[in-house]
Point group: C2
Chain length 513, copies 2
């Protein structure tokens, strides 16, 4: 079977847009003034007993960071760094610091430790739970200028780089050496690898290459008192002592500031195919998934889905064209392998069997890079498209596949016409649902319909209330819905051990009580 | 190309032996009386200030563990549990406990905590660094009876089981559901999954499926005071709080006793091929490796090597036949995929190119399971074969590939004729060298030639002094050769936080000073 014989040809590729570049910057600059301060929206939250930044502190920072534009105190320049890109959190920091070297981060934190100054580490500021922006007046330490690739061993595939390298740039770089980054996500054009590590970013390649807990081989972090914790390594195996770096992966900047890392990069695939398919129910989505694991096996690199409302976000708000007619659900399957003829044969045999069985109603297969990028855009740009509705209530949950989509239908029934949209999409292959509700502006009534109901619902099905976005500012109080008392108790003991004064990313991650 | 046309046919499969079953038990029963007590061999080591087990304690344990054969105090029965299977460490424990449930482990540790009794957790007792046997009279808590599979979700591939399940049995079980365990190692017939997790076992599939830090989704452990730490989860993504389970993976029983885990199992491969190749230098081994990563890519599941001395261990000591004539080095390549025709085409094209380029001199390819098992036996039974020489000085290091085999040649020159054998083999694909020296019995002169020279050598090349075996009793003093002062300082703080009295697996893992 040729792709074009059974599967409809791809008919509407035009205006292939640059998906990621500039998106976040746009939000930074244009919209922050309209956003309520976090401290106003959450009036019960009290500022911690931290010192205020003094002129003496500023002078000390300027000594550590010589040269222009590395100690920023201008309010308008700070605005974008004070506000998260989905316009839901806004802090009042008056100082932004841009170190270039680990030693500078260490010197800064030594001062903050001595002076009891609170700090928020910030990478690309693409987080979705308010974790990367200040809540009150925390000093922002940005990794923006820490963007050097330290080394790449093309035989072993081990990349070592500073924390501020942009994920997409790293992927371009290792690509030239026939390698690929083990993670990929919509924000790749802006997000920093250090932020990816700090939030244990998942994304669309996790199905194939696993989590960062497996891919990260070494890590360097500066502890809250300024000590440099050196866990750097360029070895695939090293069983000498507790694997401390793992604690920092997903710690959301609360234990230390990640300054560098070594990452294992898999071989770049010679052949990539993307199929975009229309199916008539979520049960069908699962049947297609099950069969794809069996038939596509080692070449399956992504299995994503969108409901019809999620695709409508792209077609309505971003004016993207869908290559398919209307269906209740859409599946995006990516294969990556070393032999295009073998991969195409596997994919075509698979798709033919799905069409013959009536499980797939319609579809298109593309192999040309710009067309692949376009199809991926329909999936990856949903988050951006949602912003056009106004305010977005954003949830990111893990659920057993048996209960996966029921959350969306239950929430739709509950919220009714009070929201602009209630949609579900995401990483079926990893059991990770992105559930989103939009309204013209922040509406406490809509919020009250969603929370805490959604967390109870997810806990009831033994899911996770945050699959990959983390807890940040917005979800920390709900940690007990996904973690045991014994685990949270140990987490708090760890935090106290490493950051006894709590100066690193306060008001985030762990609940106060 | 057909396998048989260019590559020599497999000519000598006979007497395919059961590789793993019974091996360890044999060593337990037959040889322990001849082994020096650890406390005698290391006279400078002092017993910690722990209580002695009393009759009241025994009675309490018997109450917690009712029924026969769960509180063992008979000296001859204890002998195998007091001695490691490579006959290098021997403790004097007088009590062995066999809980079946987490709650029983918890009740036992509550008593040990209150009474200040030291404990050594033990799985299959297949460890190679003296980590799983007592040094003095620690109470042995065996996971032998905690061998229940709790659940398996065949769609997501998530297995949940108790810690005492034997790895090989788990693999047989998930195999029936078209899945495979993400790790495989020579001791699979005896080792417990809990011990695998506690030592972060690597093995021969790491190249393909990554480390346990990526594959383990959930974990339950009992802390030193008896509290049950519940980090169980059956989700691929869960970013809610510090990933505590990671701390226990590779902690060698010093933070808690692992009682259960959830593990992500990949799809079982429909097609498996093994090639065994003869090459004339280690540089050629690396060239073949580099090209295999490129050409075999997603189907490459193992890349192992043996030097001629390592193969001789199998042919001389175990009387196994090699399918190849004599060569300086041998490479074992395994491919695993979903389509046998595709895989064979890839493998044959690859091997033909290697033969044409003169990089591979000779070889054989097998696809039939018993033949695959036989070839794997030549690699996996080296450790067993070494025991026949008498005493084995066992090292397991990670090194950059550029310096990988030089360690063996340097050590051979240094040790000369004082040893029976000096050999190198292992996981080239992971940068992991198994380096072994044998002599008729333990010889302090040979030991003095090896240590600390080998650790300095490895540190000089920025390798790891323990790639996958861990530190245990024998290597803890050398941790600084692979880990920074800042890292070891934090490790010690963590140990003190979780186990302030140091009752869990004392004299192991971290150095005293």
């Amino acid at each position: 079977m040729q792709p074009n014989s059974v599967i409809r040809t791809f008919k509407c590729i035009k205006n292939v847009s640059k998906i990621h570049s500039g998106t976040h910057r746009l939000f930074h600059k244009s919209t922050s003034n309209a956003i309520e301060f976090t401290s106003v929206r959450y009036p019960n939250l009290k500022r911690g007993q931290y010192s205020n930044v003094s002129d003496v502190d500023i002078a000390a920072f300027e000594k550590i960071l010589p040269g222009a534009q590395r100690v920023i105190t201008d309010a308008s320049e700070l605005e974008g760094y004070n506000t998260d890109w989905i316009k839901t959190c806004r802090g009042r920091s008056q100082v932004l610091l841009k170190p270039k070297e680990t030693e500078e981060v260490s010197a800064i934190l030594k001062i903050c430790h001595e002076r009891n100054l609170a700090v928020v580490p910030q990478g690309g500021n693409t987080g979705l739970v308010g974790g990367s922006v200040p809540v009150f007046d925390e000093i922002i330490i940005s990794t923006q200028l820490m963007n050097t690739v330290i080394s790449l061993d093309s035989l072993s595939g081990i990349l070592t780089c500073q924390a501020g390298c942009i994920l997409g740039n790293l992927n371009d770089y290792v690509s030239e050496h026939n390698l690929t980054m083990p993670l990929d996500l919509g924000a790749k054009g802006s997000c920093h690898i250090g932020g990816n590590l700090a939030t244990n970013a998942g994304g669309v390649r996790l199905l194939r290459y696993g989590s960062l807990h497996g891919s990260v081989l070494g890590l360097e972090a500066v502890l809250p008192d300024g000590e440099v914790l050196d866990c750097m390594s360029s070895l695939r195996k090293d069983n000498t002592g507790y694997d401390l770096k793992q604690l920092f992966i997903g710690s959301e900047g609360t234990l230390g500031i990640i300054t560098a890392a070594s990452i294992l990069c898999p071989q770049k695939s010679q052949a990539v195919n993307v199929a975009f398919l229309g199916v008539d129910s979520f049960d069908r989505v699962l049947e297609v998934f099950k069969e794809s694991k069996h038939q596509l096996a080692e070449i399956l690199s992504a299995f994503e889905f969108l409901d019809s409302e999620a695709l409508a976000v792209c077609t309505d708000n971003l004016k993207l064209n869908s290559p398919l007619s209307s269906h209740p659900f859409y599946v995006l399957i990516e294969t990556s392998g070393s032999n295009s003829a073998h991969d195409e044969e596997k994919l075509n045999t698979f798709l033919e069997s799905m069409m013959d069985a009536g499980k797939v109603l319609d579809g298109t297969v593309v192999a040309e890079p710009t067309k692949i990028q376009y199809i991926w855009g329909l999936r990856e740009r949903v988050a951006e498209g949602l912003m056009h509705d106004g305010y977005c209530y954003k949830y990111d949950v893990s659920l057993p596949l048996s209960a996966f989509y029921q959350l969306v239908t239950d929430m739709r029934a509950r919220i009714g016409s009070k929201a602009t949209r209630v949609i579900g999409y995401g990483h079926v292959g990893d059991g990770n649902l992105h559930f989103n509700v939009t309204s013209p502006q922040y509406d406490p009534e809509v919020m009250a319909l969603i929370e805490p109901f959604i967390y109870d619902w997810v806990a009831n099905y033994k899911g996770s209330i945050s699959a990959e976005h983390g807890l940040g500012f917005k979800k920390r109080e709900y940690i007990y819905h996904s973690k045991s008392r014994s685990a949270v108790k140990m987490m708090k003991a760890l935090k106290t051990l490493v950051d006894p004064n709590g100066i690193l990313n306060p008001y985030k991650f762990l609940p106060d009580h």
